[in-house]
């Protein structure tokens, strides 16, 4: 009986320890925490014939999700999760796009940056690739560090 009680106590302690470590790890960079929130975002990309590009729908709902966090925290979190290539619930031609792309969409409806060149890797066209998302993350990090962005 005493042995069973100790086992239960040990199992509970282990469970809460793992839960606590997981929360700490997720909160350390912030990106994973927001990425989890963004997994609840359902939407799709639609083709804009006039502009010849895909546009994200339901941006107001995306804004509702990301605006839970203060602007400066949100910016850092969105850049951090830009390289996350797990599937989101946002579809492009029936296929789920990566969470990193939704982080990019959230970032670019929070701030803007005016580069000197027209081919700046921080601007993405959909569909995109993991490599482009990582490149975009790298240049946006520079922008954030130098505080050369403007809040929309």
């Amino acid at each position: 009986m005493l042995l069973d009680r100790n086992r239960v106590r040990f199992a509970l302690t282990l469970f809460f320890a793992v839960l606590w470590i997981g929360t700490e790890v997720a909160g350390a960079s912030g990106g994973p925490k927001l990425a989890l929130d963004l997994r609840t975002f359902h939407s799709r990309y639609v083709w804009n014939e006039q502009k010849k590009l895909y546009e994200l729908r339901d941006r107001q709902e995306l804004e509702r999700i990301i605006s839970k966090y203060p602007t400066e925290t949100r910016i850092k979190m969105l850049v951090d999760c830009m390289s996350d290539d797990t599937h989101s619930q946002v579809k492009l031609n029936g296929t789920e796009v990566p969470i990193g792309l939704i982080c990019y969409e959230g970032l670019t409806q929070t701030i803007y940056y005016e580069p000197k060149t027209i081919r700046w890797p921080g601007y993405l066209r959909v569909p995109t690739s993991k490599r482009r998302l990582v490149d975009a993350q790298r240049v946006w990090r520079k922008v954030i560090r130098s505080k050369s962005y403007i809040v929309l």
Binding site: E55, R57, Q60, E63, T108, Q109, Y112, S148, V151
Partner: protein
């Protein structure tokens, strides 16, 4: 130099926290030309949000010369969110950019509707999320 007033033709003007409100008189005259409550019937314009003036940009930007302004919200809605989804935002943004093209002294007119410099099409990245207006 002068400051953009907090009301233009009855339209409220809100400024971002980083904005250095110090611009040329000709820019204010240009704003008076295109910021009007009835610029895009049936959608009333009651408020604009200025995200940048003579700040956050370096030469040769017209911002650094105190001759440019960025508008990023229309009636409290971010252009990044309302354009092209919301009819009122689209109507007002298009009307402001069209009106600016008829303004004497207009130079750059970049936004989701038009990208023009001195009246001619101009290839520039971004500006789907705000309107950039500058004068000579």
């Amino acid at each position: 130099m002068a400051t953009i007033p907090s009301i233009i033709n009855g339209v409220q003007v809100e400024f971002g926290p980083q904005v250095n409100n110090d611009v040329s008189m000709s820019l204010i005259a240009a704003l008076k030309h295109c910021i009007k409550p009835n610029i895009a019937p049936p959608y009333p314009l009651f408020k604009i949000y200025i995200s940048s003036e003579a700040d956050q940009h370096v030469m040769p930007s017209r911002h650094a010369q105190h001759k440019a302004v960025d508008i990023s919200r229309i009636n409290n809605i971010k252009i990044a969110i309302g354009y092209p989804g919301e009819a009122a935002t689209v109507g007002i943004v298009n009307a402001i950019q069209n009106a600016f093209e008829t303004c004497p002294g207009r130079r750059e007119n970049f936004g989701p509707h038009l990208k023009r410099k001195l009246g001619a099409s101009f290839n520039i990245a971004g500006h789907h999320d705000h309107i950039h207006l500058s004068v000579n």
